[in-house]
Amino acid sequence: MVSLLDIIGPVMVGPSSSHTAGACRIGLLARGLVGGTPQTALIELHGSFARTGEGHGTDKAIVGGLLGFRPDDERLRISLDIMEREGLPYRFEKTTLDEDAHPNTVRLTLERGTDRVSVVGSSLGAGRVKLTQIDGYPVEVSGALHAIVLVAEDRRGSVARIAGILAEDGVNIATLRLTRKERGGDAFMVIECDDPPGDAACAHIRELEWVRWVRCLDRVSG
């Protein structure tokens, strides 16, 4: 369903909703996966992001997102200067990902403390984005809803346990996607929620002994 405010909006730093606002949102989501501003970043641009990214400020927008700036933040324009001033060793490379990768795609490899994540995200147009891969697991994270991303041992009842914790917290689950690389291997779960999960619920999930890693991502659009 189309909303009036999707048409008259978003408020954003130009020039392109896909190459600037969308790129910023991918950076913001990736930042959430390491829980804050990454200390190192390898930013690999694919397709149209590699070809016309500089002219659209795609590089500035992704770095701005990694620094925690939203698409309407005027600091996006000077994010590369801020990155240098902070001494952050972010590197850009041009790459060619899979043939079926969306033309506006970037792979980010980020480190912060002991966290390290590799994430592939695409900007689909009109500012809409999708993370398609996290640490090699196929995922779908749009950033239009709050999301919980976690890696857990592949065991019976895990989904029910986590759904229970969220229900107690008053959080309604909108989508849930579970993937694994092999039977008995780690399971990768992406849970999109209508309401932001509380810190207590996130901590509760983190404390489950069979959960290896969890991040709660704020929505970045809508």
């Binding site: 369903m1 405010l5 008259i8 978003p10 130009g14 020039p15 909703s17 500089e54 002219g55």
Partner: protein, 294 residues
């Protein structure tokens, strides 16, 4: 939200309401938000639009590549043409202004997109200021524009990569024409004719930016898109009707977009981007950009 202009016009005329009001009511129902809430979000968007108009008219902006910038100020301060001192010239200046701000990584409202963001603020604020209308009227016009844009999104497309520039500045012209016609006292049905009149004038318009950048011709196409909207408003308010209903014009815009060669859909493979000068400028400017970045 409505999926057809005909339905929205019928609902508005039966209840004696404006298109803006039926749009606000539909949005309120869909999203479970009070109308006052939606109006205040639109009012914040209007403030950003006015900010971009003001910033662009001062004229000291350059885009990343240096291809565009400074032309809005020429219309404001440069030599007079036959339309000097009219709202027409002012609206053109405002359209260039917003799009120059966009190209220079300033803050704009993507309405309906960033590439077509100049048309709506230029037409609505330019004509409202000329008629000394209060901002509440412009906020309601934004609701009507959103309704028209939502219908175009449903029936056709709002993406240059999908439908060419007819889906970006063309759709923006339709939105601005319908919304401003109502803002200036036209009936819902006159607003519908304004949408059709504007949209028919941009059918087939390709998306062909040099180097794939939202700069050239995008900045100027926002000005010509605004001009088409003004023509449609003038005709609709004079009582001129367009025989093909707005919904059908929008449908055919979508059909033309789907049939459009990929070279003409934001790929820089055809149109102005592929002219000898277009190619040369893109090559030179992109090289320059790399040097500037280090």
């Amino acid at each position: 939200m409505y999926r057809s202009m005909a339905e929205a016009i019928r609902d508005a005329e039966r209840s004696g309401k404006t298109l803006a009001l039926v749009a606000l009511e539909a949005e309120s129902r869909d999203q479970g938000r009070p109308i006052a809430d939606i109006r205040s979000a639109l009012s914040r968007a209007l403030a950003v639009m006015r900010g971009a108009v003001g910033q662009g008219l001062t004229g000291d902006l350059r885009s990343a590549s240096g291809l565009v910038g400074g032309d809005a100020a020429k219309l404001r301060l440069g030599p007079a043409g036959p339309l000097a001192g009219t709202p027409f010239r002012d609206v053109l200046a405002r359209a260039l202004a917003v799009q120059e701000v966009n190209a220079a990584m300033g803050v704009i409202v993507a309405a309906p997109t960033a590439g077509g963001a100049g048309v709506l603020p230029a037409v609505l604020t330019g004509l409202a200021d000329a008629a000394k209308l209060p901002d509440e009227r412009v906020v309601d016009a934004l609701a009507a524009a959103g309704l028209i844009g939502a219908i175009v999104a449903e029936r056709a497309s709002l993406s240059g990569a999908e439908g060419g520039c007819q889906a970006e500045t063309g759709a923006a012209a339709g939105m601005a024409a319908g919304a401003a016609t109502e803002m200036l006292g036209g009936s819902p049905s006159q607003a519908g004719h304004a949408v059709a009149l504007a949209q028919q004038g941009t059918l087939g318009l390709v998306c062909d930016p040099l180097g794939g950048l939202v700069e050239l011709p995008c900045v100027f196409r926002n000005a010509t898109g605004a001009a088409i909207a003004l023509a449609a408003i003038e005709m609709a308010l004079a009582g001129i009707t367009f025989a093909i209903p707005a919904d059908e014009v929008i449908d055919v815009m979508g059909e033309i977009g789907r049939g459009m060669d990929v070279r003409y859909r934001e790929t820089a493979g055809g149109g102005l981007a592929a002219t000898p000068t277009g190619r040369r400028l893109a090559r030179e400017r992109l090289v320059q950009l790399k040097r500037a970045d280090g």
